[in-house]
């Protein structure tokens, strides 16, 4: 279906149909950039799901990803989609899995990963995560660095990760575009790309850009801010000039104008509370919206502001102290952001780590415990949204995945116990209804890199 739409759209673009005829007219409204072509044209997702199972999981404990935890619940999926969840579902012709004692959650989503762009083994020759040659490299796309044979993907899969967002590094004010991938084995990057996931733009505050560019500038935080504003002013000019000459191309500005047009989502690495507030000011000056602040060790200091602005904060449970801007840690950070303004905050547990991504459920558990210790009444169901619904929302894919609602992609995990326990392991992972990981039979993808050198496999 999606691919059919793509063909129609590309045809429309190629043959210059008027906007009213376009089925994507609402998305494209006011846009004079190349964004639709970026999303649906040459670089479009070519992902094809494996064949879906038709399965009903019986009598499990089910986290729906919206905030609920149901006991003795069934989950039915087929044709790549969640068909229903409920108690004692009546389903014909589906395979049955006894879920007694097991837990089912939506597929876990990490919205901050560098797998593929900093693959394993970590050697210079495949270290492709940061074009640290200029403070503004909005023109680069992480998907053009991703190595499809990174042996780290399957390790994340064993931890229940079905979708992850790969970002460029944080050396630059504007690091380039990020890409959202399904955690599937493929030989090309487009074959992994999450269909229709919006592009993202990585921005970075604070210590990293001013350290990397200290000799040429920016070398201060105020220099950083002047750098963002200069770039946005340039983008505005470019946008205007497109009206006169729509055929011109400028990769850097195409990304920035995509943000100004509301099509590309801003993912902003930013630790300190005062800097996040400044970044919000900048977004107001130029009329764009920040989707998510990443790392935000001080997000708890402005939790109300983030809730008011509808900005998500993607955070670690307990990382701190590795640099000055990560010194004011609170282990309750995630909980405080979540509970701001009567629980309207959008908190996300992210990894930024090929190790942490394997245990995002455990990181959520620690954050939940810290929140309760700080006096918040937070349910496990609510904490589950930090690694499912909220990252999906932050990436603009909540209409497709992130919860176990009817019609969503059948991305889900069966755990052998409560995912908030250290002793729990993912038993099976399904992506679009297809089994991609099965602990019992040691079934999982093996990249080409794995062949010949892996004498032992995780059991």
């Amino acid at each position: 279906m999606i691919r059919k739409l793509l063909v129609i759209l590309v045809t429309l673009v190629l043959y210059g149909c008027s906007e009213e005829d376009s089925i994507f007219s609402s998305e494209a409204e006011g846009s004079v950039t190349n964004y639709d072509e970026d999303l649906h044209g040459t670089y479009a997702s070519t992902y094809v799901p494996l064949d879906s199972e038709n399965i009903v999981i019986r009598n499990a404990t089910v986290f729906d990803g919206i905030g609920n935890k149901f006991q003795n619940y069934d989950v039915h999926f087929s044709n790549g989609e969640i068909q229903a969840i409920g108690s004692e579902l009546i389903v014909d012709g589906a395979d049955e899995i006894d879920g007694t004692g097991k837990f089912v959650t939506p597929g876990i989503i990490d919205n901050h990963s560098h797998m593929g762009v900093y693959p394993a083994p970590g050697v210079r020759t495949s270290s492709d995560g940061n074009e640290a040659t200029n403070p503004v490299t909005a023109e680069v796309w992480a998907e053009h660095s991703v190595w499809s044979q990174d042996p780290q993907y399957k390790l994340a899969l064993a931890g229940g990760i079905t979708t992850f967002h790969v970002l460029p590094g944080s050396a630059n004010l504007f690091g380039g575009r990020g890409v959202t991938l399904k955690n599937v084995s493929a030989n090309t990057v487009p074959d992994m790309k999450f269909p229709d996931a919006p592009h993202s733009l990585k921005m970075a505050c604070g210590e990293n850009p001013k350290r990397v560019y200290s000799s040429r500038g920016p070398s201060t935080r105020m220099g950083n801010v002047a750098g963002y504003r200069d770039a946005w002013i340039g983008a505005e000019k470019y946008k205007k000039s497109l009206e006169k000459d729509p055929s011109q191309r400028n990769l850097r500005n195409e990304t920035l104008v995509g943000v100004l047009d509301g099509e590309i989502l801003v993912h902003n690495h930013c630790y300190r509370a005062d800097e996040m507030a400044t970044m919000i000011n900048i977004s107001e000056e130029f009329g764009y919206k920040v989707s998510t602040f990443h790392h935000g060790v001080e997000a708890y200091k402005i939790a109300d502001l983030l809730a008011d602005e509808g900005i998500c904060a993607a955070l670690w449970a307990d990382w701190w102290g590795f640099k000055h801007e990560a010194y004011d840690m609170s282990i309750a950070n995630i909980a405080i952001v979540d509970q701001a303004r009567d629980g309207t905050g959008c908190a996300i547990v992210h990894s930024d780590s090929a190790s942490g991504i394997q245990r995002l459920n455990q990181e959520a558990a620690k954050a939940l415990a810290a929140g309760r210790r700080a006096g918040f009444d937070i349910s496990e169901g609510r904490a589950m949204t930090w690694i499912t619904k909220n990252p999906a929302k932050s990436l603009g894919i909540l209409d497709q995945t992130g919860t176990l609602e009817q019609g969503k992609d059948a991305d889900l995990v069966i755990w052998n116990g409560n995912p908030f326990s250290v002793y729990t392991k993912a038993e099976q992972v399904y992506i679009d209804g297809a089994l991609t990981f099965d602990k019992a039979t040691n079934f999982m993808p093996h990249t080409d890199f794995d062949l010949g050198i892996k004498e032992w496999e995780d059991k």
Binding site: A120, W316, M329, S330, K366, V422, E457
Partner: protein, 423 residues
Amino acid sequence: MGGQIMKLFKILLLLPFIVFSDADDMYVIKGGMTFLPDGSFAKKDILVDEGQIILVADTIGDVGAENIIDAEGKYVTPGLIVFSSLGLLEIGALPQTNDTSSDIYNAGFDPSKAYNPFSQAVRLNRAKGVSSTVHVPGASGYFAGLLTYTKINDGYKQKKQGPLGLVTSYGESYGDSRAAQLHFMEDLFDFVRSANDGDADEVQFIEGTNNEYKFTKRDLKAIRKVLNREMPLVIQVSKATDILNVLKFADNQEVDLVLWGAAEAHMVADEIARAGVPVILDPLDNIPGSFDSLNATYENVIRLNEAGVEMAFYYAQGAGAHNAYLATQSAGNSVAMGLDYSSAMKAITSNPAEIFGLVGVGSIAPGFDADLVVWDGDPLELMSNVESVLIDGEDQDLSNRYEELTERYTKEKELPNSYRSRE
């Protein structure tokens, strides 16, 4: 030690009539599920006096202790012994706050001399159940320096033991050919063996090279301790074939060995066990992060345990030493992978003590230092909290900057935060 045994003898005879003179120092931890040296949990009372565990018994009556800690329904473990740079490094990216490595000294460098007991990282880790650390030097040359054991109690005075070992590395992390690394170690050890103690203050081992190959008297002294088997060589090594090389090297040189990191140790687990060499590692290291660790796997601890290798765990993920207390998470995951609970718990308490011959720490038994932690749930579980920490029999202040920050931002406020009193 003799005095302790006498004391224990007296208590056994006199209980419950005994009255101690300085009752302030006495604690009884009552009714907690206590992790015992045999690896089991059992409901016990623990009597602590003058910094030491005096008695562990099913019930201890009224001995006049002023301090009673009710641990009913809770867990009691030895204080965690971590491997870290706690108190040596405040902020990773700020060299001003980093005392973990030296450019002047190599083998003889003891970073624990720089220990800052008021480091925020120390206070946080203490509040999370850590009672002591083996200080690990950061590598700068061929030899990183010495391991030293330090209690992390509040106040200016800490008990130390050491040096415990000389840290070096083998494999791709150093750079020169693995063959040259072996030549170097062999030649250096032969050289130090043949050199007299009355030699010059400083020795340039290989002429015309940089500081790395220049050894001060302090450095030579450290190497001699290894050659005299007063402490082991601790080698950071990952690759299976490299591990075999260093096992052979240690055997030929007749020195004691501890393996560190050892991602591929599972491939040569029997050889390691046969050599009686312990391994210190993070069970979570399962990423083929370098060409030396292509076979990294969660199975590492399982296979090493099956082969009978003694292990101690550290936590090397995320923020590393700042969160050294998360050794509990590493240990908990090793249980999820199939290791028995008792081995996992020992790997973060008694095994570090055993491996380095630490005296009187790491176990809950009479005569041991009273380094004890009371937890509100399974100590290896992610959602359990620490309730009390005793170090050398003193109840520790568990407040820390991070709890204060949390409180400051979770309470109703009229004035700006900075005007509100510090609680």
